[in-house]
Structure formats: C-alpha cells, structure tokens
C-alpha cells in the first residue's frame, strides 16, 4: 500500500559525515556490487565502454564552497535515499510497488508490481530513484535490507555495504528514532542537518556539516618559506673549488 505508516517503530537510516568523506567512491562500488548480486534485478549499465551510463543507488557529488573570507574548500557529497518519514515518492505510486515499512521505516520498491512510470522519481527531491533501463523497473537504496537482518552473514557485516566499505568512516548506520543510539548522539554532537527541509519530506538520513577549518592566527601565512631561502650564494672551501672547477668545464 502506498499510504505512509502513521509512525514507524524504528527509523533506520544513515548519517553521512561531510567532514570525513574523501570522495573515493568506494561506497558507490560496494553498493553497486552488493545490489547487483542480491535484492531485485541487477543494476545494469548501458554502453559501459563508450558513452557510459548506468543505474546507481548511491552517487557522490563534489562541491566547491567559497566562504565569505578565506580560501575555497572542496566537499564530497554522498547521496542515496534518505528514507524520508513523509516520503512523497511512496504516496504518488499508482501500483502499490513503493512502500515504507512500518517496522523500521525503510522505503522499498516491490519490483514485481512496478510499471516503470517514473512518477516516484519525479516526486523525490533528492534524485534517489532511477529506473533501470534494462529491466524497466524503479531502483533505489534498500538500506541493504538483505544485509542488516541477514543472520548468515558474520555480525560485523550486518550493516549496509556502503557503510562497511567506507575507508574513512564517513557513513554510519543506525536507528535515528532512538535518541540514545550512537547515530543519534553523533547527530546531536555534530549538528546534523536535513537536506532541503523546505520540501517537507522529513528525511531520516542526516548530514554532518564540515567542521570549521583551522586558522593559523599568529603564524605567517607561509610557514615553510623561511626554510627555503637560499643558504649560500658563493660557496667557500671544497664546495667553492668544486663550483669553480665545474664552471670551467
């Protein structure tokens, strides 16, 4: 049913640390790998060695930010489904293929019911849904529902592929509905933010803004320059002799 649950018992989601993400795209590859071999149809590619295009559930954008004063900064920006509480993608779906689970808040697509109309992708502000061109059905982040409850995996692997893979520890998984969970405390500590709050989607995933950069107040801007000053213009002794000898050659 594409009616949203009144409330969900848990709010499982991701916390993404924009301060830590190094933009390596490892999570993109891990996500594509896991989700091509598991839940639902594979994530296809079109013309992969030419005008490459394909389906991804997680993509990394990179932005340049020019603060009012000081140097510009680069921020890498991972983006996958935010498993919104007021998910507009769910209510627009005519077939009932899109749904939000009452038990943990995960937003999923039942591919056996999807007709590939794409309306849910239009309704999502974040670009988190893509129709797979080969299968003609809607694909989106499953929060790795087939890993997090999967008892055949070792306990350490029972988290989303992207979280498990991230070498920088920039992605965290947990219950954002529990104020005492690790992820909720992280969000409280670091001032986690909703993306596009004006869209009224109430995203579950939270983004931790980059920390303010260090400043070198009392030190001259260029701390290394003094060490690079020329040591000796006219060498004496052995070096001087060598220099003169070489000069004559």
């Amino acid at each position: 049913m594409t009616a949203l649950p009144e409330a969900t018992t848990k709010k499982l989601g991701l916390v993404i640390d924009l301060d830590t993400c190094v933009g390596c795209h490892a999570c993109v590859i891990a996500c594509k790998g896991w989700n091509t071999q598991n839940y639902g149809v594979p994530l296809s590619d079109q013309d992969p060695y030419g005008q490459a295009s394909g389906t991804f559930l997680n993509r990394i954008h990179s932005y340049q930010v020019q603060p009012a004063t000081g140097a510009a900064q680069t921020t890498h920006f991972p983006k996958s489904c935010l498993h919104c509480e007021d998910a507009p993608c769910v209510t627009v779906c005519p077939t009932g293929a899109s749904y939000k689970r009452a038990e943990d808040g995960i937003v999923l697509v039942n591919e056996d019911a999807c007709m590939g109309c794409g309306l849910c992708a239009w309704a999502c502000p974040y670009g988190a849904r893509e129709v797979d061109e080969a299968a003609g059905v809607m694909k989106k982040c499953t929060l790795c529902v087939d890993r997090i409850y999967n008892e055949t995996l070792p306990e350490i692997d029972r988290q989303p592929a992207c979280v498990r893979t991230c070498p920088a520890g920039a992605r965290h998984f947990g219950d954002l509905g529990d104020p005492d969970s690790d992820v909720s405390r992280l969000v409280a500590d670091r001032g986690g933010l909703d993306l596009m709050p004006e869209q009224g989607t109430k995203p579950v995933n939270q983004y931790l803004p980059p920390r303010p950069r260090d400043t070198l107040d009392d030190v001259p801007e260029d701390v290394l320059a003094p060490f690079l000053a020329p040591v000796d213009e006219t060498p004496q002794g052995f070096l001087g002799w060598l220099d003169r000898a070489l000069e004559k050659l």
Partner: protein, 295 residues
C-alpha cells in the same frame, strides 16, 4: 523536465477528447444516429488514442493494470479510474443515442462530470509535485481544464462558448507562465538548502562522466530565447487565430476545422513548454538553476 512526446500527445489529445465528451454528455448538442456516431468516434479516438500514447511512457507496461489499486493515495491511479469510468458511462450514453435515438440525460451529466474529473486528475499528477515548483501551483489544473473545455467546445461546434473559453485559456496560460517563472524562487530551494553547505556553493564534479537517468529525465534545459519564441507561437495559435477564424467566418466547417488545427498545434507547443521549462529541484545537485542562489 524531459518533454517526452508520448506524454505531450496524451495530454493534448485526451484533453480535447474528454472536453468533447463533456459537451456531448451535457447535451450541447444533443445528437443521435449517424451524426452522433461521427461525434463519438472523434471523441473516443482522441481520448483513447491519447491514453494509449501514455502507455508508451511506461518502461514496464505489463504491470499497468496494477495502477488501479492505489486510488486512495495516488493521483495517477485516480486518473486511471476516472478515465475508464468516463469512457464506460459515456459509451453507454452514446450507444443509446447512436442506435436507439434515445438521450438518457442524467447518464450524460454523470459522464460529463467524469470526463472533466479525468482532466482534473491528469492535471493533479503534475500539480501535486513540490519538486517541480512551476507545476506546483493552482493555475496548473485551471490551464488543463480550460484547454480541455475550449477544445471540446470547438469540436462540439459551440462557436460562442469556444470563443469565450479560448480567451480564458489564453489568460490562464499567460498567468501560469508569469507565476511559473516565480515559483522556483518562492519554493525556496537553492544549492545551499540542497547541500546544507555554508558559503557560495558550486558543483565541482558530477558523480559520473556521462549522463544518467536523472539528468536525462529531469535536468532538461531549454534555451531561453527559444522558450520566448515558442511562448508567442503557442499563445497565438491557441487563442487569437482560432478566435479570429470563428468571429470572421462564422461556424462553418472549414474555419472551424482550421480553428481546431490551430488550437491543437498551439496546445502542443504549450505542453512542450510545460515540460521543457519545468525545473526539478534535483537539478540543484547537478549545478543547474544556480543563478537563483543567494550568495
């Protein structure tokens, strides 16, 4: 948004077809026998032809029948119901008029109401989307409804009603453009709210070197000077030309046929712009619409 031909054809032709059914259902005019057959043929070809065109937009049409299940929440599902009910009720009404010369007036009124409801539900599919501020305004259903009614009045040979409705259509479309140009700023989404980064934000690198489903479908950009030209063409073909044809030459076959052609061409252009000019907020993540950024 990508102006997909299937959806433009669907919304233009079906709109006119359901508009014609609306007037036939109201008994404007009351027709029977062969003449009725001609009218209903045109109406059904337009309405059903348009609906079939929209099926081409689906990437997995074998599940289309499931789209009748979610009418409680989904406008697209409601559209499906309204269209089938309108076509069925008007079908029975038409059957009696064509073969028995009997006009079941109340059934016609019901069919007329359902026909207009169908057009309204189509419009609401777009109007409901907060992600596309240009569509997300009350004028959107007004444009769809007046376009359908004006087309219906033309096709059902109600010249004076057609003139009034065509003028209303022109006014509604002008307002929709004027308001639409302001909606993105009103909605308040910027690359700043999208990324929640502080400072002047610009896209440094896309997530991938090529295009993807999102950029193809939702980050369509139309050259500004083309848009202005097309607006003029759409408006002229939609309102002044058909109105002048009817007022100058009266309700004869040739001028009305020309007026219908002009109207259809104008609405095609208007619908193309309706999609091509619509800015989806996801474009912000891809560096589009950044002219609107407050630094």
């Amino acid at each position: 948004m990508q102006p997909a031909p299937s959806v433009i054809i669907f919304s233009t032709l079906s709109g006119a077809g359901f508009g014609l059914l609306f007037f036939l259902g109201l008994g404007l005019p009351v027709v029977t026998g062969g003449i009725a057959f001609g009218f209903y043929l045109i109406a059904y070809v337009l309405a059903v032809g348009g609906l079939l065109a929209s099926v081409f937009h689906l990437k997995n049409p074998k599940n289309a029948w499931l789209s009748y299940s979610q009418w409680r929440t989904s406008w697209l599902s409601r559209e499906g119901w309204a269209a089938v009910l309108a076509l069925l009720v008007m079908g029975v009404f038409a059957l009696f008029q064509v073969f028995f010369g009997v006009t079941l007036a109340p059934l016609g009124w019901l069919g007329a109401a359902l026909s207009l409801t169908t057009v309204f539900t189509t419009a609401m599919i777009y109007t409901q989307l907060r992600t596309v501020p240009r569509w997300n305004q009350p004028a959107t259903p007004v444009v769809f409804l007046t376009a359908s009614l004006a087309g219906g009045a033309l096709l059902s040979n109600n010249p004076m009603l057609a003139v009034i409705l065509l003028i209303l259509l022109g006014a509604a479309v002008l307002f929709h453009w004027w308001k639409g140009d302001r909606r993105f700023a009103e909605a308040g989404s910027t690359i700043g709210t999208a990324t929640q980064l502080r400072g002047r934000v610009s896209l440094w690198e896309k997530p991938h070197t090529g295009e993807n489903y999102l950029t193809r479908e939702m980050v369509f950009r139309v050259a500004r000077k083309h848009a202005v030209k097309l607006r003029v063409i759409a408006l002229v073909l939609m309102t002044p030309v058909p109105v002048a044809l009817i007022l100058l030459f009266g309700a004869h076959h040739l001028p009305v046929a020309l007026a219908v052609l002009s109207y259809v061409a104008g609405v095609f252009a208007q619908r193309w712009l309706f999609f091509a000019e619509a800015e989806h907020v996801v474009g912000l993540y891809y560096g589009a619409h950044t002219g609107r950024q407050v630094a």
